[in-house]
Each structure stands twice: as C-alpha cells, then as structure tokens.
Amino acid sequence: MTRQMIGMVFICVGIAFDFLGVLGLVRLPDVYTRLQAATKCVTFGTAGLLFGIFIIKGFTSFGFKALLGIAFVFFTSPVAAHAISRAAHRGRIPLAKESVVDLYEADGELKEE
C-alpha cells in the first residue's frame, strides 16, 4: 500500500513535468528555446513516470521493462535533441528577436562549408 502511494506520487510529478514541458513548447518564441524546455521537461517527466511504475510493480518483468524504458529515453532523447538543434542552426533558421548572443555562429563553425 505504501509502495502504491509512493509510485502514484512519482507518476503525478512526471505527468506535471510533461504538461509543463508541453506548455513551454507552445509558449516560447524560438526553435532552440522550445527544444530546451520540451526536451528536458519531457525526458524528466517520462523517466519519473516510468520510475513510478517500477516502484509499483517491483522486480517483475513489467518493472524491468519500465527500467529499460528509462535507460532508453535517457540515452536517446539528448542525442536526438542535439542533432535537431545543430541541423536547425546549420539550416539558417533564425533566432528570436530577444536573443543576445550566438556563440556557435561566432566560433566560425559555419564558415568551413
């Protein structure tokens, strides 16, 4: 019963993080800021949700599949986010008007093509 309660708390926190990340995806002004908010919040939210399911189910096959899902989301989501942001910057998608500095442009990564 206690295990059920703790798992439900983890699941509620994960759903809240999911919702806040998606709100950031709708509200923020730019591709890069949207990617930052959405990827971090959704990764943490889904990982917390799967960890709550692991706490509820214990060391069964269900729980181990949830742990495997955590590992997979943690390894793949930052890689995909980095690839998308790099491709967007190389595809000359402009930054927001409020942004102050663009260090990736200043490093001269784009001039070698």
Partner: protein
C-alpha cells in the same frame, strides 16, 4: 491583443482542468491519462502551426516521448505487460525518425 491571448489560454486551461478533475468521475489513473492526452493536443497545435520545419520536427519528437508515457500508463491501468513492449519499440523508431529528420533538415542526403 496580449490580454486577449492570456484570457483565451487561461479559459481553455481552466475549463479543461475543471472538467477533468472535478466534473469527470473516474479513477485517478484515467484522469492522469486525460492530462497526457491534452498535452498531445497542444503538441499537435505546434505541429500544425509551427512557423519553421524545425518546430514540426521538435514537436513530433516530443510527441513520441509523450506516447511512451501514455502507453506505460495504459499498461498500468489494464495490468498488461505488453504495452511496455510497444513503448520500447516506439522509442526506438522515434529516435531513428528524429535522426533522419535532422539529417534531411540539414540539407544532406540520407546515405551521406
């Protein structure tokens, strides 16, 4: 204009939360699944109205992660283990699709 946008957003979010948590009768897990479905509705808004192609790619990537969580909640609700298998396969395919979209967005070929 700004006030109107804030009012529309607050009205939509407040009505959805009230209908979900106070009017609708059901177990807590179904209510959480409903919140996740609302989130995917907002992601679909970004897919349709995104100004640039990168916005759409980001939204599709995030939709994959949301669907993984939703499938895990469905598996917990019906007490069936095979939903997690579907979630793992969905994560794999979503990752590969994101990398392919990023490569196309950069202007390179897939066999480059």
């Amino acid at each position: 204009m700004r006030v109107a946008r804030w009012l529309i957003g607050a009205t939509v979010l407040g009505s959805l939360a009230t209908l979900n948590f106070f009017v609708f009768e059901g177990p807590l897990l179904v209510k959480l699944i409903n919140v996740s479905l609302f989130s995917s509705l907002f992601v679909l808004f970004r897919v349709v109205y995104g100004p640039s192609p990168a916005d759409r790619v980001v939204a599709v990537d995030i939709l994959g992660v949301l669907i993984i969580g939703m499938l895990a909640l469905f598996g917990l609700f019906y007490d069936q283990g095979f939903f997690l298998d579907i979630a793992l396969i969905w994560a794999l395919l979503s990752f590969i699709a994101s990398l392919a979209f990023a490569k196309i967005l950069e202007g390179r070929r897939l066999d480059d």
